[in-house]
């Protein structure tokens, strides 16, 4: 370091570097532009393949943002930042996947209503 940083506090939150931010931004711009291009230009003929690609790119972009902009790593706050992040990711996955799973099956097993009424004997 060229000059000493006089931190009066025990600041253990890591700081980003200019290079880190710019790299993150370049990656993020690419990871945003590609899915928009895939959907808007209809590059892939298969809709399902497009959907899978878009979702995969989103997950990569979330990791890029978390590492480059939010500076989550194993050293920040003695590892507690990473631990709480992993915990949150698990809960988020359970909440979203669980809700979709349960409600999908509920819908499938429901008595047909509304327009479906006419199909009933």
């Amino acid at each position: 370091m060229s000059k000493p940083h006089l931190h009066a506090h025990a600041d253990t939150h890591p700081h980003g570097t200019r290079r880190g931010y710019l790299l993150g931004f370049a990656a993020s711009a690419l990871l945003t532009a590609v899915p928009f291009w895939l959907v808007m230009a209809g590059v892939l003929a298969d809709v399902q393949a497009t959907a899978i690609a878009v979702i995969a790119l989103a997950f990569v972009q979330i990791v890029v943002h978390t590492v480059c902009f939010l500076h989550v790593n194993a050293r920040a706050e003695g590892g507690w930042t990473l631990l709480t992040t992993i915990f949150t990711v698990v809960i988020v996955a359970i909440v979203i996947a669980g809700s979709l799973w349960i409600m999908y099956h509920l819908n499938t097993n429901m008595m047909p209503m509304g327009d479906g009424m006419t199909d009933m004997p």
Binding site: G16, F36, V39, I55
Partner: protein, 203 residues
């Protein structure tokens, strides 16, 4: 022992100093709870996303070029906030304030475009009361927009604090928290533009 003078007391520092380190972690835990709010809203939207109730489907009402511009605004605001953080690390108060103002302008553009989108949808009769899909959409995207608006208010407060005191340790700590808040909103928006807009139009 012949030495009658009391031994010099020895102090062990068993705990770390928790000045700003604790603030950073505490704020991070708040942000994670905020992420859980968005998780429930994403789940709600996911469950309702095909409940059109005879109303419009995503393909008919979403304008991807507008969403792309909006996404670019938020993404640019993230990198400009990064520049503000770096300027603060280098103790350049003027540059920090300048980058914060640029960030706020991008953020305001984002909120403006979103309000325009909402008003257009409501004028078309695709308001939140039209169908389950639109209720879920307005709840999720609206909550994110409110967060960005709160971030804008916070940036204004931060600018005033920086103007009064400059880059003192407390303001650096506040700036760090504000930065985490702002960058997290960008992460949430990745989920929104992917799962709501792009996959909605594909459906």
């Amino acid at each position: 022992m012949t030495d009658t003078t009391a031994e010099k007391p020895i102090f062990y520092q068993l705990e770390e100093e928790h000045a700003a380190g604790a603030t950073g972690l505490g704020f991070w835990i708040y942000l994670m709870s905020d992420a859980l709010i968005f998780a429930t809203l994403f789940a709600t939207y996911g469950v309702l996303s095909t409940s059109y109730a005879g109303g419009p489907a995503p393909r008919q009402i979403f304008e991807l070029p507008l969403v792309a511009v909006n996404t670019a605004m938020l993404l640019l605001s993230s990198i400009t906030f990064g520049m503000a953080s770096i300027a603060a690390d280098e103790d350049r108060a003027g540059a920090t304030r300048l980058w914060l103002i640029v960030t706020a302008l991008f953020g305001a553009a984002f909120v403006g475009i979103e309000l325009y989108e909402f008003s257009t949808l409501i004028a078309e009769g695709a308001g939140p009361q039209r169908s389950g899909f639109l209720s879920g959409f307005f709840a999720l995207v609206g909550t994110h927009g409110l967060h960005v608006l709160s971030g804008l208010v916070w940036i204004a407060v931060m600018l005033a604090q920086l103007g009064q005191r400059g880059l003192i340790a407390e303001n650096k700590r506040r700036l760090m928290c504000l930065g985490m808040f702002w960058h997290l909103l960008d992460v949430v928006w990745i989920g929104v533009f992917t799962f709501v807009y792009l996959l909605g139009v594909l459906r």
